[in-house]
């Protein structure tokens, strides 16, 4: 059974009008959030996004944006302590 965290939290945004169909987003996503639908990428299941940022970093056309970060409670606590 696939493990899932919270729903409706991801900051992933995708604008299919800018997609050139290179397929890199589908290749780099570790959770299969993107899938090639003919010549354009499509988002299949947003809630599986872990915001690693691989898709946005590899999209040469600026079609994807996401606030990339590490989903780590300990790191969040450390950053709070430092600020």
């Amino acid at each position: 059974m696939p493990l899932r965290h919270l729903k409706n939290v991801t900051t992933l945004k995708y604008d299919s009008r800018k997609c050139a169909g290179c397929g890199l987003c589908a290749a780099v996503c570790p959770h299969g959030v993107f899938e090639m639908n003919g010549r354009t990428a499509a988002v299949t299941d947003r809630d599986r996004c872990m915001e690693c940022g691989a898709c946005a970093r590899n999209c040469a056309f600026g079609a994807i944006s996401v606030r990339a970060g590490v989903g780590c409670a300990s790191a969040v606590l450390w950053s709070l302590r430092r600020s």
Binding site: R4, K7, V28, H31, G53, R57, R67, A73, A75, R82
Partner: protein, 382 residues
């Protein structure tokens, strides 16, 4: 505890990330990755040297020696994890020629070993980036595994004079930091992302450098989770809060407080429930939040402790002790379970922040009330 995300992969295989102070240079201390590490001399794991157009480079095999295995075991147990880096640069695997593939990986030795051991019989070049001894996924998340380092290391290694082709195979989990379009623009090399697990590299090469969808998915199997448990526990045992709790408990034992032995066992059990049982049983415990899962096991454990301690409780002291167990233990388990988000492979920063907003206030309240009840129990029970 320390933790972080990203089990990693060298192209690769998952070799627990668990970042934390040492894996997340940005979260504590502020050391700059890559400038402070001493590297393991290639002489210690190379099987020889190989002459190339630009001079001699270390030659490595696909099999690990005793030293490699011993080193890996130590790292898994949390010993010297931040000092397990191989020297960056180019390595020869088998007997590569100018047309052999080039694999790029991080200089965390577990990443490097995961890559080479999955390529028996394959002759290749391995370009090891300086990621400060951090695995691929963690380093990519921090940007140290990226186009800058690929371009610089490529230039420094003289790879352009060694191979005739212009293709680099990058680990898929390096994608959060490395942009294939940018690497192509800056180096003239086409960057192809290999599969998540190094074990699939052969199939990837056989299929003409294409990975089946399944090879592109990160998993979080029982084995992956089990391997992380020793690290979780090692991190806790070395934390200040644990040592403070241990000191307090020893003082209570010496002072002869009646419930001290049971309280110690109860606390140790709650730690195991949150940092060991929750990670292992993750898919089977209800709830989406890690804190919820930890709290569920914590409540079960606290109930067991109450039964052992004598239930129903006798008098005000017994009642206070029962309340202390049912409030404090689940809060502790929930907190430790929440910290495991960093070692999981599927939580996002937004998800973790949302979970913390919801769970931390509840945990703090429960823990505070639980501690107050414990003090009350100790006073009332004498």
């Amino acid at each position: 505890m320390p933790l972080a995300k990203f089990p990693s992969a060298a192209g690769l295989d998952k070799e627990s990330c668990s970042c934390g102070p040492d894996c997340c240079p940005g979260t504590k201390g502020g050391e700059t990755a890559g400038v402070f590490r001493r590297h393991i001399d290639p002489v210690r794991f190379a099987s020889g040297r190989r002459m190339t157009a630009v001079g001699e480079i270390p030659l490595v095999g696909a099999r690990l020696g005793f030293r490699d295995r011993w080193g890996a075991l130590r790292v898994r147990l949390g010993i010297g994890r931040g000092r397990y880096a191989v020297a960056p640069g180019l390595y020869a695997l088998g007997s590569p020629d100018p047309w052999s593939p080039v694999f790029v990986t991080a200089n965390y030795k577990l990443s490097f070993d995961a890559l080479r051991t999955k390529l028996p019989g394959i002759d290749a070049w391995i370009l090891v980036l300086d990621t400060g001894g951090i695995n691929v996924w963690c380093a990519a998340g921090k940007g140290t595994f990226g186009a800058d380092e690929v371009a610089g290391r490529l230039e420094a290694s003289g790879l352009k004079k060694i191979v005739f082709h212009r293709t680099l195979i990058l680990p898929q989990l390096g994608a959060p930091g490395a942009s294939a379009p940018e690497i192509a623009r800056r180096t003239g090399f086409r960057a192809v992302f290999g599969p998540v697990r190094a074990a699939d590299l052969k199939a990837f090469l056989d299929a003409g450098m294409t990975a089946a969808p399944e090879m592109r998915r990160v998993r979080f199997s029982l084995r992956d989770r089990l391997i992380l448990v020793p690290m979780e526990l090692a991190g806790i045992v070395r934390s200040r809060s644990f040592l403070a709790g241990l000191g307090l408990w020893l003082a209570a034992m010496i002072a002869g407080i009646r419930g001290a032995p049971l309280a110690g066992a109860a606390g140790a059990g709650a730690i195991l429930a949150g940092a060991a049982a929750t990670p292992v049983l993750l898919p089977w415990i209800p709830g989406r939040m890690f804190a919820t899962k930890g709290a569920i096991l914590g409540v079960l454990w606290a109930s067991a402790v109450c039964l052992i301690g004598g239930f129903p409780p006798a008098g005000p002291a017994g009642l206070a002790a029962t309340a202390a167990a049912l409030l404090f233990l689940p809060a502790l388990s929930a907190f430790l379970a929440m910290n495991f988000t960093g070692s999981s492979t599927f939580t996002s920063l937004s998800g973790v922040v949302a979970e913390m907003r919801a769970a931390v206030p509840v945990m703090l309240t429960a823990a505070g009330l639980g501690l107050a009840a414990a003090v009350l129990a100790a006073v009332a029970g004498g």
